[in-house]
């Protein structure tokens, strides 16, 4: 009897506190939403009005004129998708090598790859600028994809490596004996089994490029401008500070990652943590 009430109390506490904390986490965003829906004069009123007195969708309509926002959006989507795909491809390949083979330099290379993600962006900013400029890839989508792929590979490889190692080798051994090539193996057997990790890795790479600011800020000028930089440039010009439009644009901009997270949640969480926890 006591055990059951105990369990019920725990459940109530859980749901109660859980809802409260979820709300607290989202609360700052509520302010962003309301700011985007009200005229700017209301934004700067003191004391701050929490609930908008007059709702207007002007910000959402006008923001498209402020900058080639559609271009930025297209750039962000193209760059992020390509980064996700290519980083995924390269990482799966490398992680498979680390997980299934024994070769000279295995330990060292793995450690180097893993260490690479601990790099401060600022330390490679300048020399990378010269490399990219030398390759003629400044302010191009290709350049940004290359850079972000490089950033994503270490973490992705490490995660996939952990996940692959947890998959028993027997299936692959059997397939090898049957005459399957390594590539077919990877494609047909390993990847489906590692689906959660693949999703986690792809999402991670996508998000990394979608949200990245510093390198986009330095490496793009107009053609390959992505949204984080575009937000800053378009709505926070020298003397123009349209916060309502900025937040409206930010909300629209946050939708793809949120949609991605929400729909792939289960796989993402499983993939992210299994690689780290099961080690």
């Amino acid at each position: 009897m006591k055990h059951r009430t105990h369990a019920r109390v725990r459940a109530w506490l859980g749901y109660g506190l859980g809802s409260l904390s979820a709300l607290c986490l989202v609360l700052p965003l509520v302010w962003v939403v309301t700011t985007s829906l009200r005229p700017i004069a209301e934004v700067t009123s003191t004391p701050p009005i929490v609930f908008p007195q007059s709702i207007t969708f002007d910000a959402y309509a006008d923001l498209w004129e402020a900058a080639p926002f559609l271009n930025y959006f297209a750039n962000s989507i193209a760059i992020s998708l390509l980064t996700a795909l290519i980083a995924l491809g390269f990482s799966v390949s490398a992680a498979y090598a680390f997980a299934r083979f024994r070769f000279r330099g295995h330990g060292l290379l793995l450690m180097l790859v893993v260490m690479s993600q601990m790099l401060p962006g600022s330390s490679i900013l300048i020399p990378l600028f010269q490399v990219i400029r030398g390759l003629g890839l400044l302010d191009t989508r290709t350049g940004m994809v290359l850079i972000y792929t490089g950033f994503a590979i270490p973490f992705c490889t490490w995660l996939l490596n952990g996940y692959f190692r947890a998959i028993p080798e027997e299936l692959e051994q059997a397939a090898l004996i049957d005459g399957c090539s390594r590539l077919q193996l990877l494609w047909r057997i390993v990847l489906p089994l590692a689906a959660p990790a693949v999703v986690a890795v792809g999402t991670f790479a996508f998000l990394l490029s979608w949200n990245e600011f510093l390198f986009a800020f330095v490496f793009t000028k107009s053609k390959a401008l992505t949204i984080p930089v575009g937000l800053r440039a378009a709505f926070l010009g020298q003397y123009v500070n349209k916060y309502d439009q900025l937040f409206a644009a930010s909300l629209i901009f946050s939708l793809p990652p949120i949609a991605l997270f929400v729909s792939l949640q289960r796989y993402f969480v499983q993939g992210l943590t299994a690689g780290a926890v099961k080690e």
Binding site: T44, I86, R133, L137, T142, S181, A233, L236, V240
Partner: protein, 426 residues
């Protein structure tokens, strides 16, 4: 197996290569000569004007075609650096005048003396403004817009408390107590870690007789008596409550919000103010009055008091392949266009053209006489190659003093030390 690996390796590479072809601009060779213009920044009114001006030009000219790109004001320096190093870029740029020195010397900008009709064109601009784009006897751009710094006054507040527009720092300080009772700051200013801070400090420095460098530009001079007095004045106002303590975190927009919502009576601003307060905050322009920036009652250093003047110039790049055509475009857009013959608040600055101030010109600017007078008396930042860094150090010093971390003299001396090193490096 081998084919599979080959594909695995090659496809992404091929994709990347394709992408690079796709994202690079297509260059076409046509009959009209192409002149590329990069217009950095500019308020919305300016951007609207230049788009239609370019269209009009292209429609009426068969031999020249303008390709214009509007870019972020904040990126102009990086763009200048990279294009100058690479030796390739636009033909005409619209940038801050300080780059005339920095990049004129390096060959990044084209000296206008090369054009035979330049002396006549020169005549149409104010002489003191022309000095701001000159380096070692050559002019590296045309000063199109000038932005003199003036005092923006909320007339309603002053009338409510029966106060006169202050002409000296002492008068500003005297306004403090009365306004404080009403919960209003006498003065507000951006004091954060950004260049706007330095731009509000310098007008006060100039009006007190101070200068940024000494006579031969070998040492910093802004930490002299004039600078110290100006910064101490600000800190005292802050400590007495006549100046917001939060200003140490203010960038331009926070300051504007503070003034526009009637929480402060005075602010140091420029020609852009009228349009900003109307457009962003729906401020009632009937309440706006402009006045010259106050100085101390007694001059603190033996230099004539001047107004701080910012100048935006249009220049031809040093590596351009079509200088003659660029000159034609430059004159058409920036000298002869009717928009420069009448000062227009939506353009972000007042024209540096003498014709705009001829008697009989009707302008929508409030306080145009104040602006024009300040412009004619204006002195810009010294044209030193490292000026941006120097501005940052001055802004840092003001920020330090306003935060209370250092005393005004300490903060200024610190900054002066760094600036001396920069001056030595060059």
């Amino acid at each position: 197996m081998r084919t599979a690996l080959f594909l695995l390796f090659f496809c992404p590479l091929a994709a990347l290569l394709l992408l690079s072809c796709w994202s690079s601009p297509s260059s076409g060779a046509g009959a009209p000569v192409e002149v590329v213009v990069w217009d950095f920044g500019g308020v919305p009114g300016h951007q609207a004007w230049i788009k239609q001006a370019v269209e009009k030009f292209n429609a009426s000219h068969r031999d020249i075609r303008i390709e214009m790109e509007i870019r972020d004001w904040a990126t102009q320096r990086e763009s200048l650096i990279s294009t100058t190093i690479v030796g390739e870029g636009p033909d005409i740029i619209r940038v801050h005048h300080k780059y005339s020195v920095e990049f004129g010397e390096l060959g990044g900008l084209y000296p206008l003396e090369n054009f035979p009709d330049f002396p006549q064109v020169k005549e149409r601009f104010f002489p003191n403004v022309l000095e701001q784009v000159e380096f070692q006897g050559k002019h590296y751009g045309l000063p199109i817009t000038m932005l003199p710094f003036i005092l923006a006054v909320n007339r309603e507040i002053l009338e409510k408390y029966d106060l006169e527009i202050p002409r000296t720092w002492e008068e500003m300080r005297a306004m403090g107590p009365l306004l404080k009772e009403g919960g209003i700051h006498a003065f507000t200013m951006p004091g954060g870690v950004n260049l706007d801070t330095a731009y509000r400090f310098l007008p006060l420095l100039y009006k007190a007789g101070g200068r940024v460098f000494d006579e031969d530009w070998s040492r910093a001079a802004f930490n002299g008596p004039a600078g110290k007095a100006a910064l101490s004045f600000l800190v005292e106002m802050q400590q007495a409550g006549y100046f917001p303590s939060a200003s140490a975190a203010y960038a331009f927009d926070e300051n504007a919000a503070h003034w526009c919502t009637g929480k402060a009576a005075l602010s140091i601003e420029g020609p852009w103010w009228q349009d900003i307060v109307l457009g962003n905050y729906k401020f009632d322009l009937a309440k706006l009055v402009l006045a010259p920036v106050p100085g101390p009652e007694q001059l603190l250093e033996p230099n004539p008091p001047r107004t701080l003047l910012d100048v935006v110039m249009v220049a031809i790049t040093g590596y351009t392949r079509v200088p003659q055509q660029a000159w034609v475009v430059l004159k058409a857009l920036n000298v002869d266009d009717p928009v420069w013959q009448v000062p227009n608040p939506e353009m972000g600055g007042i024209p540096a053209h003498k014709a705009a101030y001829a008697p009989g010109v009707q302008s929508k600017y409030i306080g145009l006489e104040v602006l024009a007078e300040a412009g004619r008396n204006g002195l810009g930042w010294p044209g030193h190659p490292g000026i941006t860094e120097i501005q940052r150090h001055i802004a840092d010093a003001v920020n330090m003093a306003l935060t209370g971390v250092m005393s005004p003299q300490e903060a200024l001396d610190n900054a002066a030390q760094e600036v001396d090193e920069i001056l030595n490096d060059f």
